[in-house]
């Protein structure tokens, strides 16, 4: 072995050793129990506030197995690195969070560190929850502690190497985690600030509406610019582009309708966003939903891609004709000849940003699998669309999706049968 190589190897081993020592030194452990620590403030008022905030944070969606006991965990989440089993967060001493203090809970919300000091996987949206105030965290804690404890043991996650090494999360944290409570922007209104607090904090909207890279992280510079939701195979549209789900041209009422009722005169929520409305947003007060709408409408618009060129929008005449025929037979009854729909019951397709945006995934999935808007307090009996996957072949779905993307001066681009085949192969969820 050459001398230079040997020196390099020894140096590398030395650096690795120091890094390991530093890692162990800085790795958090249990929090010390503060003398005279104040117990949670279990007044009804605080618990009710905590319940409301827990809904704003949509805790129940992940921490409850469908049909299972509330907050008892057990739900499997498939992520690109394996399977995560969401933990029990009922106040059971052995299997839940019964022994957690309000300090433990705040550290978890604020910095993604569990009670025993282990680093949490960022599937838990602590990168957003870090913005939650101590008072709000305490209220959520008081609510969680007021729930009936459920004895249900957590299952260990099934993650591939190296993702099963929790300590390596220190790297992810250095790259993508910026902790800190929400700091109000004094140049904006109180309403805007309340909206920002809810959207960026408990709402954790960026978890889906910001693209996620191969390391499971997302860049602040791309915040709210949209992206595919890993493993769910739905596209979370950009909230900053008026060509996607940017709300710059929407009225406040249209936005609050969409968020609170699940339907509006512009569009309807389906898939993962239907889940968010069903479990979380429908329960928020009119004031809070309006604050979110005000904030979302004012998000800076930055269209990162140019509108499609005329040549990109070219459609073969026979495809257009096939699409038109299928549309007339299967779609006109509800969406109308001019694609105007019967809003809010049946959404419009003409000038609907979610139809024309560059990713056709959501439109294709709707045609294949259909969908019901969520049943909400404001819209308890939503209308629905049937699946067509068993009726239409790939070429037919491609033709009709192409048709609705370009008809009525819609600015979308054609889709191919191969794109349909890919989405047909996945199990709908």
């Amino acid at each position: 072995m050459r001398r230079a190589t040997r020196i390099f190897l020894v140096a590398a081993a030395f650096v690795a050793l120091i890094a390991l020592a530093a890692l162990l030194y800085f790795m958090p452990g249990y929090l010390p129990v503060a003398p005279g620590a104040v117990a949670a403030d279990p007044t009804t008022q605080t618990i009710n506030k905590g319940e409301y905030l827990a809904r704003a944070g949509d805790c129940v969606a992940c921490h409850t197995e469908p049909g299972g006991k509330q907050f008892a965990g057990g739900r499997v989440m498939t992520i690109p690195f394996g399977q995560i089993y969401v933990p029990n967060v009922t106040p059971d001493d052995e299997t839940g969070i019964g022994r957690w203090t309000a300090d433990d809970f705040y550290r978890m919300m604020h910095s993604g560190i569990s009670r025993d000091g282990s680093l949490m996987y960022p599937v838990m949206p602590f990168a957003a929850y870090t913005k939650v105030t101590r008072a709000d965290s305490d209220a959520i804690y008081a609510y969680m502690m007021s729930l009936p404890p459920v004895r249900q043991k957590n299952q260990p996650h099934e993650l591939r190497f190296p993702f099963n090494q929790r300590d390596l999360l220190i790297g992810w944290r250095a790259l993508y985690l910026k902790t800190g409570e929400y700091v109000p922007d004094t140049s904006k209104s109180a309403q805007w600030n309340r909206g920002a607090y809810l959207v960026e904090g408990l709402g954790h909207c960026a978890m889906c509406h910001t693209a996620i890279n191969k390391l499971g992280g997302s860049k602040t510079s791309e915040e709210f610019e949209g992206g595919m939701i890993p493993n769910q195979n739905w596209y979370a549209p950009s909230l900053t582009s008026n060509r996607e789900a940017g709300l710059g041209n929407w009225t406040i009422k249209e936005i609050t309708d969409l968020l609170q009722a699940g339907v509006s005169h512009r569009a309807t929520v389906y898939g993962p966003m239907a889940e968010v409305v069903y479990n979380s947003l429908q329960y928020l007060s009119d004031e809070d939903v309006e604050a979110m709408a005000v904030y979302l409408k004012q998000l800076p618009q930055r269209d990162s891609e140019a509108p499609p060129t005329q040549s990109a929008r070219l459609v073969a005449p026979e495809v257009m004709e096939l699409g038109r025929k299928i549309y007339a037979k299967q779609c006109v009854v509800c969406h109308g000849e001019e694609g105007k729909g019967r809003p809010p019951e049946y959404p419009p397709l003409a000038a609907n940003q979610s139809i024309t945006m560059s990713s056709p995934v959501n439109s294709i999935r709707m045609v294949l699998n259909g969908g019901y808007a969520p049943g909400t307090r404001r819209n308890p009996k939503p209308h629905g669309m049937p699946p067509f996957s068993h009726i239409l072949a790939d070429e037919e779905v491609a033709a009709v999706v192409t048709y609705i993307r370009v008809a009525w001066e819609n600015s979308g681009t054609p889709v191919t049968a191969a794109q349909i085949g890919e989405l047909r192969a996945i199990v709908p969820e």
Binding site: P66, G67, Y372, M385, P386, I391, L392, A393
Partner: protein, 259 residues
Amino acid sequence: MTALRLAIDLLLGARRPRADSGARAQAIRFIVSCVLAGASGAHAQDAAIPAFKTLDSMEARTQGCVTCHGQSGQGTGKEYFPRIAGKPAGYLYNQLVAFRDGKRVYPPMNYLIAYLPDAYLREMAEHFSKQRPAFKPKQPPAADAAVVARGTAIALSGDPSKQVPACITCHGQGLTGMEPGIPGLVGLSSSYIAAQLTRWRSGNRQAPPPDCMKRIAERLSEADIHAVATWLASQDPPANASPASSNLQKMPQACGSQM
């Protein structure tokens, strides 16, 4: 015809020693075209989405169901998608809740109604329970007389040696089901009935305990399932399609769906 014979052999995994490659390719094309025809069955039948009268109605709200179950719940296509019209509302409601909560597994249904509240699911169940559309044509009986006899026996008399009660003791004398929780078995395809019995037997499909149907399905052989499914699918529709009332008959077993 050669292609058909060969296709069946290929599907069953049987080998024909001297089948030439041309005939083989023809057979494979035949299978593919059959599968495609099945996949686009409703299209071939030229079915369009039905119109509805008023927007604010259950008829319009259940447009989400029509491509599989038909506008009145009569079922569609030759295969699988079951008739839901006229089944007891309690049964339909239990199924909708089980699909929504993932307790009954069929991903297209699990997805479609994932975010619908109980009260609305009950209304949907009541809507379809009141429908009385015409029945689809019955399917032909099994070609083998022994299979027909076995199917008849299980449906009408049961098999005491296996402790299998007759279908009609719980699913109604006219096989139109029993209020409030037992489904009718008329107007269903044999493939649907056989698939459901197989799922009960494997534990994939369940009901609230005591799960009588699980116990019964576990006692049935594959041949029994085939016999009773083809027999049920080949019956004439009843004159009165309404489910039987729950107080007319003593049930042979305790049933979680009737509690």
